[in-house]
């Protein structure tokens, strides 16, 4: 500190001019709610890193199956259970991409040489010889679809239900709240299993099951906020000016609810991703030959002792997705929730 002080120029220490007109000047540009929120998100390093990681994952999920040049369901039993091998990285000894495999008894073998495979399988192959790189990104697509779906259900059904219930109040609110109180007592797991018994297990039944229960939490939060907002003067003013209820809800209430909606959606997404993977893992989710991160982990788990890469790679990807979504959700909550302001 001391050396810094000496370097400061003398004129910095001149007395300030007292001018009443200048002290009233606004010397920072005024920020809208969203600019302010964005600034706060940007300050949160974990959230920014998560955002970058998520963008990369989304790009890879769609680009991955294209650049691998293989189909996700093409079987080639001659190339079964190959370890990962990536051109270029195969010579870096500490990376596990050299196409070699350590057996449980300690011997190191190279299945690529034994089976005379010239091709490179970047993340190896599964017991049916399917390319894991392609399957991994296909599975990531499923997770992203579920994330997108959960967000849409939350934003459409949950917000509409909550806003209508809260805005109109009275008997309608009473009836609607009784329904949610029954629904909230039903665990999602129970509904999903019922749906899957009637429909075929797969992405459709997961979608329907999530539509039935996924929105309840959101509707409660939105209703509570709407109850508070509808008593405020700007709503009364809009009513006095003759605006319809629909217009008031969409034009005046929704923008004020945006913060809560975003926070809630962001916390729903990782739960939905986990749930799909969990269902796939216990055999209720996607069925073969479709790949999701849950089925990949399930298949990999069965051969974990012999071919650890088949489980560890999808496990890393889903963990990264989950951590990224959670961190971003935390960052957004800190930025958007007025109660969290310091």
């Amino acid at each position: 500190m001391a050396s810094n002080l000496e370097k400061l120029p003398k004129e910095k220490f001149a007395p300030a001019i007292l001018d009443s007109s200048k002290s009233e000047e606004i010397n920072k540009p005024s920020l809208s709610f969203w600019q302010d929120a964005w600034m706060r998100v940007r300050k949160n390093k974990a959230a920014v890193v998560s955002l970058v990681v998520m963008v990369l994952l989304i790009i890879m999920a769609f680009l991955g199956p294209l650049i691998s040049g293989r189909e996700y369901d093409t079987q080639n039993v001659a190339h079964a259970n190959l370890p990962p091998k990536i051109p270029g990285l195969e010579n870096v000894s500490w990376l596990p991409f050299d196409g070699e495999k350590k057996l449980p008894n300690g011997n190191v073998i190279n299945p690529y040489e034994q089976k005379k495979v010239d091709e490179y399988y970047w993340f190896g192959t599964d017991p049916l010889g399917r390319d894991l790189f392609t399957r991994l990104w296909k599975g990531t697509q499923v997770s992203l679809y579920i994330a997108f779906l959960a967000a849409i259900i939350d934003m459409i059904i949950g917000v509409a239900y909550g806003a209508i219930s809260g805005y109109y109040g009275g008997r309608l609110d009473n009836v609607m709240q009784r329904i949610t109180e029954v629904l909230i007592g039903i665990p999602t797991l129970v509904v999903v299993i019922l749906m899957i018994l009637v429909l075929e297990p797969g992405i459709l039944s997961i979608t329907i099951a999530m539509s039935i229960t996924g929105w309840v939490g959101m509707s409660r939060v939105v209703r509570a906020q709407t109850l508070k907002l509808r008593e405020q003067e700007f709503v009364l003013a809009s009513k006095t000016l003759g605006n319809s209820d629909g217009r008031i809800i969409f034009k005046h209430l929704l923008p004020n609810l945006a913060g809560v909606i975003i926070i809630n959606t962001m916390f729903t997404i990782p739960n939905a991703i986990f749930f799909e993977a969990f269902l796939s893992f216990i055999g209720l989710g996607l069925q073969a030959p479709n790949a999701s991160l849950g089925t990949l982990i399930d298949e990999g788990y069965k051969v974990l002792r012999l071919h650890p890469h088949e489980m560890i790679i999808p496990a890393i990807v889903i963990s990264v997705i989950m951590v990224a979504f959670n961190m971003l959700a935390d960052g957004l909550r800190d930025a958007l929730d007025p109660k969290m302001r310091d």
Binding site: V190, L194, L197, F278, F281, L284, I297, R305, M311, S319
Partner: protein, 309 residues
């Protein structure tokens, strides 16, 4: 309080009724018959079979009978185990599940609470950051990934604990760790937020002004009030124990309800799936009710706000 209690129990019954009805009518929608050898049966044999299980009666009659059986705890028959009643099957398998669930929930909550309290007391230091990091990891990493990797690295590679089965205390260690990650994460986050809020409140300042020791302030005044809202997370924790038990019991081959459930899914034993499903739903609903009542009983602020006394 009585009025609230009656209202809550009524809701619980409605929820259970809805789930049970939904289960019944969805079951009716499933194509085919519940008999394993349906293709080999002649129409006459089929009629006898249907009459035996009461499937020839009108749906309304079947529905009433079904509800009557449920009230008496009869969940149907498990076809895969030579026609044992599902309720017997559940009764035989509930021991390890409850043992594991309670052990994970209690140890997990205690560890989480300790982490959360120290994170709050040492806010913005490495203690806080590592506790928060652990909480994020515990919440984010799916339990089946964690359980699988734990089994592989700690049991198979290092050989510190048994890999599979449920034969003694040492067999419970890894499943408990795998299952308690979520309670640890939730309790740690919750406790941190609560403690920080309470440490900034007026009565803590008063306690400081009166010269109470740091230890007394943290553990006698702040912690006791921070513990109360922790009861509210018991509901989500129970739900996570249920989903968690499915995968953890499967991975560690523990003879509990969850393992049975996953097996039944793979062999399409509808009665066991339905019965376990109803059991889970009932358990969940009852625990939520108990949590709500408990919350009212232990928090004097809520009791006062309710207008009693």
């Amino acid at each position: 309080m009585t009025r609230y209690l009656v209202k809550r129990i009524l809701y619980m019954l409605v929820t259970l009724f809805v789930i049970a009805s939904l289960t019944f009518f969805l079951m009716k929608l499933i194509p085919g018959t519940p008999f394993a050898s349906a293709n080999k049966l002649s129409p006459a044999q089929m009629a006898i079979m249907k009459a035996k299980y009461g499937l020839d009666e009108p749906v309304a009659v079947q529905y009433v009978k079904y509800l009557g059986n449920l009230v008496q705890g009869d969940l149907g028959i498990a076809f895969q185990f030579g026609n044992t009643p599902v309720s017997d099957l559940l009764a035989n398998r509930i021991g390890p599940s409850i043992h594991l669930g309670l052990q994970a929930m209690i140890i997990g909550s205690i560890i989480g609470m300790i982490l959360g309290v120290f994170a709050a007391l040492r806010q913005n230091t490495w203690v806080d950051y590592s506790s928060t990091f652990l909480a994020v990891i515990g919440k984010a990493i799916p339990n089946f990934v964690f359980a699988g990797l734990l089994q592989f690295f700690v049991a198979v590679k290092l050989g510190w604990f048994p890999v599979l089965f449920w034969k003694g205390p040492e067999y419970t260690v890894l499943p408990t760790i795998a299952l308690m990650m979520f309670p640890v994460a939730i309790a740690a986050r919750f406790m941190r937020t609560e403690m920080i809020e309470i440490l900034g409140s007026d009565y803590i300042t008063l306690a400081k002004a009166k010269g109470a020791s740091y230890f007394d302030i943290a553990f006698k005044h702040a912690l006791r009030n921070a513990l109360i809202p922790l009861v509210t997370v018991l509901g989500p924790l129970t739900a996570s124990m249920m989903t968690g038990s499915l995968v953890v019991e499967r991975i560690f081959a523990i003879p509990g309800i969850g393992e049975q459930f996953v097996k039944s899914i793979s062999v399409n034993d509808y009665n066991v799936i339905m019965g376990t499903n109803l059991f889970f739903a009932a358990l969940f609903v009852v625990i939520i009710l108990i949590v709500d009542i408990l919350y009212g009983v232990i928090d004097p602020r809520i009791r006062l706000a309710g207008g009693k006394k």
